[in-house]
């Protein structure tokens, strides 16, 4: 479990600023279809983590996401028969270069999004996030809180369930099918228990007056100059991402023949990259430059 601690520079930003920053990265990873641009934005995220000295924790999550990404690549290669360039043939079965690139892109997008969530987990104080979101969205933040709690209890309970399954003869050994089946049993219990827990939490929140009236906040956070700078940069990024989408400039073909990632780079994307790297730079400057206090 990645835990929030309060000793990193980026955690001094207003929680809403960090939520906007994370959302900007996620929107970018979802909208960008050029693998080259996606990779460069991902590097900016890693650099931002490095500047704030949390890159090791983010990379710990990278290993976990690579495993899932590998499964996505294998499934894609087995199922996706689009593309012209056959690179591997056995009888009727073949793999195309285009489907390989496509699966690589989808896996990279997944890794990028998962690493963004890991990064968000490290820079956003969940208590502040809940407080802010419940102020803005009212009762809707109940869902957010339940989702957050669900994900926390998932990790906390997974070992307990695995232990009970082991004692009951589920050894998590054998071929891939058997292992997937073994872990399937754990996941099933995990979700059922977490859902039951969520209902109990919702009841406890309701009985302490949640949603009965407008909320106040025990800890109010103010915005300062640095927050405004980051929010402005994120807004520019999102504006260019949406502009590109509306103008149809973010199209990138994988089939039947893949577009060249280099040739498909747009001016919009260059500006977006510039903004993401500016975010990294100003963070570095605030930490190491004359303005560090």
């Amino acid at each position: 479990m990645l835990n929030f601690s309060r000793d990193k520079f980026i955690q001094r930003f207003n929680t809403l600023t960090n939520i906007i920053l994370i959302l900007t990265y996620i929107i970018a990873f979802l909208m960008i279809n050029n693998i080259l641009i996606l990779a460069i934005i991902l590097i900016s995220l890693i650099l931002l983590a490095k500047v704030n000295k949390i890159h090791k924790e983010v990379f710990a999550f990278f290993r976990f996401s690579v495993f899932i990404a590998l499964i996505i690549i294998i499934f894609n290669l087995l199922i996706n028969k689009n593309g012209e360039t056959q690179i591997f043939i056995i009888g009727d079965f073949y793999i195309t270069l285009e489907s390989f690139y496509y699966s690589l892109f989808m896996a990279s997008r997944l890794i990028a999004i998962m690493m963004t969530f890991a990064f968000g987990n490290l820079i956003i104080n969940p208590d502040d996030a809940f407080s802010i979101i419940s102020k803005i969205f009212g009762k809707s933040s109940l869902v957010m809180s339940l989702v957050y709690r669900l994900s926390f209890s998932l990790i906390k309970q997974i070992n307990n369930i695995k232990e009970i399954e082991f004692i009951r003869g589920n050894t998590f050994k054998g071929n891939l099918y058997k292992r997937i089946k073994s872990y399937g049993e754990v996941v099933n219990i995990l979700f059922l228990s977490s859902l039951e827990d969520s209902i109990e939490l919702a009841e406890a929140m309701y009985s302490r007056g949640y949603g009965s009236t407008k909320r106040s906040s025990f800890k109010n956070q103010n915005f300062n100059f640095r927050d405004y700078v980051i929010i402005l940069m994120c807004t520019i990024s999102i504006a260019f991402l949406i502009g590109q989408l509306i103008l149809g400039l973010n199209s990138f073909k994988f089939f039947p023949k893949i577009d060249s990632p280099l040739k498909k780079i747009t001016v919009y994307e260059i500006i977006i990259l510039f903004v993401f790297y500016s975010i990294v730079f100003v963070n570095w400057w605030w930490i190491n430059g004359n303005d560090k206090n």
């Binding site: 929030f4 969940p126 208590d127 809940f130 407080s131 809180s145 309970q157 307990n160 369930i161 232990e163 009970i164 082991f166 004692i167 009951r168 003869g169 589920n170 050894t171 050994k173 049993e185 754990v186 099933n188 219990i189 059922l192 228990s193 039951e196 827990d197 109990e200 939490l201 919702a202 009841e203 406890a204 929140m205 309701y206 009985s207 302490r208 007056g209 949640y210 949603g211 009965s212 009236t213 407008k214 909320r215 106040s216 906040s217 025990f218 800890k219 109010n220």
Partner: protein, 542 residues
């Protein structure tokens, strides 16, 4: 002044045809301490939920009748006003917390009432002092004990300054020391602050003594409403009593004590026979031998050290000790969950590390504290058969026999998660014993269950041991150990500090002695309630 008034209340949960509450009429005055007792599923928790509007607002269902708080129908009170007047504390502290920091968790209810920050700070300071939370206020909620966590939840409700506090088995997930602390805090709220308290509780030994009024419920109805001074008048009608009262009631006493002090007074001038029939079993065949066991998670910080003991066929061993004493770690080593230990563990003549998976499942069964983590299959039948299928030993006839024995046959097509608490506990035990393990390990099997279910579990353990099987019970419940364990081990900071016959270990224990031993302290050596009842019967006959 009437604080709560319930008139002709009948309630059905959604999609049920049997009422959860039937024709409830009740008046609770300002400052009353009311204890609600009864078997599981009798409507105790439902009545609490009706008082703060969770029923029907949160649960839905059909409701008839009226609930009045301070002479106003709760339908006519705004939610904010209702929650400000009536606070609610649930069973499991882990499932109530919203925030990660203690201070903010305490503030949660106040934030919901839109209190200003100055008032919130003042209230947090006051409740932190009241519940002695100042020294942990800055900690994360995940780094404090269960008892402290429940205190935080109570503080969060008290900070909203409600006049009525409803508590639904607030100690059921806690160890005895934490439970005592919580009950003391609740008593303080009533006696020192004048709060009206309505408590549903299974730990009756202390709460009975604290209450002004006791409500007895059965099948959704209030069958008796008894003032504290009237207990002896209605004694024949009350099945849910403190352990000490039950002992005297079963011995035929007409006036029963509510605590040890009163019990000792009753027998103070009586002639207590100084000889008892010896009921101590001896065992021959060894099944488990633990030699020089040592285990540490991190270097030079041993969790277990110098552990040596033997377990015999047919023996029931109780392992006691404070949280962190190493009890659960020891059981995890025995069931094969922890492998990197030093020392020797011989099970049925074979080193435990050399057992294959099938041998392991057949040799040792383990019932963890939270039975719901067992349930992932669609039906009770599939759930019980799960271990057998895993080890390739499925036998339908034997399974049906087991289901009948645990009274689960009639519900074998139901989803395990739809069962009642008692049924779930029975199912979890059935899942554990289905492979007929030579050693059965039960971790806190009596936590949060009523005295009659405890006896059911105890009787099952004795029956299982009579088949030549061995049982290890990890528990804080001294009365249960005194009643059902042949031998007892006390652990402290990873070491065994006492091990021997239960009678020898528990009789003169300071903290771990069962209530029956405390009653007869310095008169006769006894740890078993049944034997104590027999002695009391002889006293009445003198």
């Amino acid at each position: 002044m009437e604080m709560i008034k319930i008139k002709d209340l009948t309630y059905y949960y959604p999609e049920t045809s049997r009422p959860a509450l039937e024709n409830i009429n009740l008046t609770i005055n300002e400052g009353d301490f009311v204890l609600i007792v009864g078997p599981s599923g009798c409507g105790k928790s439902t009545i609490l939920r009706a008082i703060n509007g969770l029923i029907p607002n949160f649960y839905g269902g059909k409701i008839k009748g009226e609930v009045l708080v301070k002479n106003k129908n709760i339908k006519d009170i705004s939610k904010k006003e209702l929650f400000k007047t009536v606070g609610f504390i649930f069973q499991d502290p882990e499932k109530q917390s919203v925030y990660n920091t203690i201070e903010r968790e305490i503030a949660f209810g106040m934030e919901n009432l839109n209190m200003d920050i100055t008032r919130m700070k003042k209230n947090i300071a006051e409740v932190s002092n009241l519940f002695n939370l100042d020294f942990i206020k800055e900690k994360s909620i995940n780094n404090i004990s269960g008892g402290e966590r429940q205190k935080v939840e109570i503080a969060s409700v008290v900070a909203m300054d409600p006049e009525v506090i409803l508590l639904d088995e607030p100690t059921s997930q806690l160890d005895p020391i934490s439970a005592d602390e919580i009950l003391n805090a609740i008593n303080k709220l009533n006696k020192d602050m004048g709060k009206t308290i309505i408590l549903v509780e299974q730990r009756l030994d202390k709460s009975f003594d604290m209450a002004d009024k006791i409500l007895i419920m059965q099948n959704g109805r209030i069958t008796n409403e008894i003032g504290k001074d009237e207990i002896n008048i209605y004694i024949d009608k009350i099945n849910f009593l403190p352990k000490v009262s039950i002992i005297f009631k079963e011995a035929g006493f007409k006036a029963v004590p509510l605590n040890i002090k009163e019990a000792k007074k009753i027998i103070a001038n009586k002639n207590v026979p100084n000889k008892r029939d010896s009921n101590i079993k001896s065992f021959k065949d060894e099944i488990l031998k633990v030699e020089d066991l040592y285990f540490e998670y991190s270097p030079n910080r041993p969790i277990l050290k110098n552990i040596n003991f033997n377990l015999h066929k047919g023996e029931v061993l109780g392992i006691m000790g404070h949280n962190g004493a190493g009890k659960t770690t020891l059981s995890k080593i025995l069931v094969g969950l922890i492998k990197k230990f030093k020392g020797k563990i011989i099970l049925n003549g074979k080193e435990i590390e050399r057992l294959n998976d099938v041998e392991r499942v057949k040799s040792i069964g383990y019932l963890a504290q939270n039975p719901t983590l067992y349930f992932g299959r669609d039906t009770v039948f599939d759930e019980v058969s799960y271990s057998l299928r895993n080890i390739g030993d499925f036998d339908r006839e034997k399974l049906i026999e087991l289901l009948k024995k645990f009274d689960l046959y009639g519900i074998m097509d139901k989803n395990p998660r739809d069962l009642s608490g008692g049924q779930k506990q029975r199912l979890a035990i059935a899942c554990t014993v289905v492979t007929k393990p030579d050693i059965l390990i039960l971790d806190e099997p009596t936590r949060g269950i009523d005295i009659y279910h405890k006896i059911e579990i105890g009787n099952f353990i004795k029956e299982y041991a009579s088949l030549g099987k061995s049982v290890i019970i990890i528990t804080h419940d001294s009365d249960f150990v005194g009643d059902f364990c042949d031998s007892t081990m006390i652990m402290h900071q990873g070491e065994i500090v006492a091990h021997g016959k239960t009678l020898d270990i528990l009789y003169d224990a300071i903290y771990y002695s069962p209530q029956i031993s405390r009653i007869f302290k310095d008169k006769i050596k006894v740890v078993n309630s049944k034997e104590g009842i027999e002695i009391l019967k002889r006293i009445t006959n003198y």
